[in-house]
């Protein structure tokens, strides 16, 4: 889990929007848990959505114990959308993707991909998948891997002749396509995985931690590839821990916690402007944070500007009046959005606190493996 960010203004009892003492708005249903989400998605037109998940639960047996990896998940992803699934380690993200690809069968509920059951082979046509921790057979070269999986996807030989070099070029592996995959570095394998997912020009792409092990330049390349793919109308489903990436790439996100969707909405909604503002003063202008704090305002000075949290617009304007009364020149007043990371941590910690209060025993083992 990423480290807790040092948010400039922290106060748990701030009067900001959102329920349950959250600093962040709740875009998803008003319900406390999945039941709310279910109400919203019960009416989903499973045929129109690119991806539809209805009441999906998945249990695994760990010895005599049963573990609920997914617990009544409802989701819908529209065609052409870029969807991000977030969640702590062991939240059930990979399990959900596996169910969506027919790799695993849900214990209950159903999934539809383009209106069809993904367990049927024909329904998986033009679906790309980059599995988490994938292992290409080490005896294949990069090119041979693409050819094998392209053939298995039913891509014609002539098309493969043309497409394989293009794909290798696209993911930055041109020149290394003749090397054995067993000799690739981690990031190179990941790039090959992406090329392989793109080999039959998918119109739905599932990516499980696509930038895992990829350097910053590569991450940007991957992001550019995804955005380009998206322009062709491809629906993209991403599992990721890199929330800044998700924030930049995805339209829609859902947060999964212990197998349940606990928050869902557009990135825009989840990171709605808060009642926090950045106030930047002109060159050489100094306002003392202490003095303003003394007047009941929550102010932090950072990098030559002030970050302030106010109850409402009137309070913000009173602050501006104060500064102007001191003859300070204001260069900028801008609203701050909550970073997705902040939202994520807030939500997950909130859920954990709620769980600890209502049920002292753990429902699912901690990601470290527990017992």
């Amino acid at each position: 889990m990423p480290a807790l960010p040092a948010t400039p203004i922290a106060s748990g009892d701030s009067p900001a929007q959102g329920g349950r003492g959250s600093r962040y708005p709740r875009a998803a249903p008003a319900g406390e848990n999945n039941a709310g989400a279910a109400n919203v998605y019960a009416g989903v037109d499973t045929d129109a959505a690119a991806i539809a998940v209805r009441g999906v639960s998945k249990e695994f047996r760990h010895g005599r114990r049963r573990l609920r990896a997914l617990d009544g998940v409802n989701l819908a992803v529209g065609r052409g959308e870029v969807f991000g699934l977030l969640g702590a380690n062991g939240a059930g993200k990979t399990t959900l993707v596996k169910v969506l690809l027919g790799l695993a069968r849900p214990t209950s509920g159903e999934v539809r991909v383009r209106g069809r059951d993904p367990r049927r082979a024909a329904a998986r046509r033009r679906i790309g998948y980059l599995p988490e921790g994938h292992r290409f057979p080490g005896y294949l070269t990069g090119k041979a891997s693409l050819r094998l999986f392209g053939r298995l996807a039913g891509v014609a030989e002539g098309t493969l002749d043309q497409r394989i070099p293009e794909l290798l070029e696209l993911v930055g592996l041109a020149g290394r396509g003749g090397d054995r995959v067993g000799r690739y570095s981690k990031g190179m394998t990941q790039r090959l995985g992406l090329a392989c997912a793109l080999v039959d020009e998918p119109d739905i792409l599932f990516l499980d931690e696509p930038t895992d092990g990829v350097d910053p330049v590569g991450r940007r390349q991957i992001r550019d590839i995804l955005l380009a793919t998206r322009r062709h109308g491809t629906t993209i489903f991403i599992n990721s821990h890199l929330l800044s990436e998700v924030e930049r790439t995805c339209d829609h996100v859902a947060i999964l916690h212990q197998g349940r969707v606990v928050r869902e909405g557009t990135v825009e909604d989840l990171t709605l402007p808060t009642m926090r503002y950045r106030v930047r003063l002109g060159e050489g202008q100094a306002a003392t944070a202490e003095r303003l704090t003394g007047e009941g305002l929550n102010v932090v000075a950072s990098n030559g500007s002030l970050e302030v949290e106010v109850a409402d617009l009137a309070a913000l304007n009173r602050l501006v009046d104060r500064l102007r009364a001191d003859h300070l020149l204001i260069a900028e007043v801008s609203p701050l959005r909550a970073a997705l990371e902040d939202v994520f941590i807030e939500v997950v910690e909130g859920e954990e606190r709620a769980a600890a209060v209502s049920d002292p025993g753990p429902r699912t083992p901690d990601p470290g493996g527990g017992r």
Binding site: K98, L101, G102, L103, A104, R105, A121, A122, A123, R124, R125, R126, I127, Y129, P131, E132, G133, H134, R135, F136, P137, G138, Y139, L140, A144, R147, L148, F149, R151, L152, A153, G154, E157, C196
Partner: protein, 276 residues
Amino acid sequence: MKTWALIVDTWREALARYTLLGFLAVSSLFLLVLTFALNLDIVDGALAAGTLFGKAFEVPGKGPAIATVVATGQSVFAGILYVLGVFLAVFATGSQVPNLQHRGTVDLYVTRPIGRTHLLLGRFLGAVTLVSANLLILCGGVFVIISAKTHVWNPRFLVASALILLVFLSYLGFMYLVGVLTSSTPLSIMLPYALYLLSVPLVAHDRIAAAMDTRIGAGAVQTLYWILPKTAEIGRDLTGYVLGKATPAFLPLATTAAFGAVCLGAAVVAFNRKNF
């Protein structure tokens, strides 16, 4: 196309993992030894058979006697190849399913638009072509060497080679089942050998059952006999057949083939139901 891709993949894997090379190396070694040994045989049997051989060229009427010598030799080799061929083939294909089911690898295969049955049977077909080719080299090599040296072409030896392949296929079905259920290469190799060994005492199933104290025990022995591949029995029939003394009994062959088919079917069902 997809089936072709899977067959090519199997060959590539065998090539890269040196199983193909190992098989060829052992086969070549065997053929070399054979060439050498056969020369010795001729020298050894010079007094009895050497002249016969010499006359055989000019007097075809003496043919049957030479054929007996050759058939005896071939029968011994068929017995050796039966054990060696199946042993090597099991070894060469034991890792096939466990490798396919490797975490992170199986995801890549199974999510392609190809049915799991097609996927598994495609790999099976790949193994069949691989082992057939290898057996063809091994058995075909022995056949050609013996025949070329003696000018006696005994087609029964080729039929015996086909039976070796059949017995191996039965084992391959079993290995697929073990592989799908356990994902373990060692088990996929050891359990067929265990079946092989078990088939030896089971040849005497009637006598063992008669000696059993309880009816349940006797029933168990007979059941085992009828279910499991009758490897030892087929081996005995096979050498007899090459000698020209017997035709292989139908029931042991049919039940052995059925065992493999049922195991393969079960492997396909299990593979289809599996969560990865």
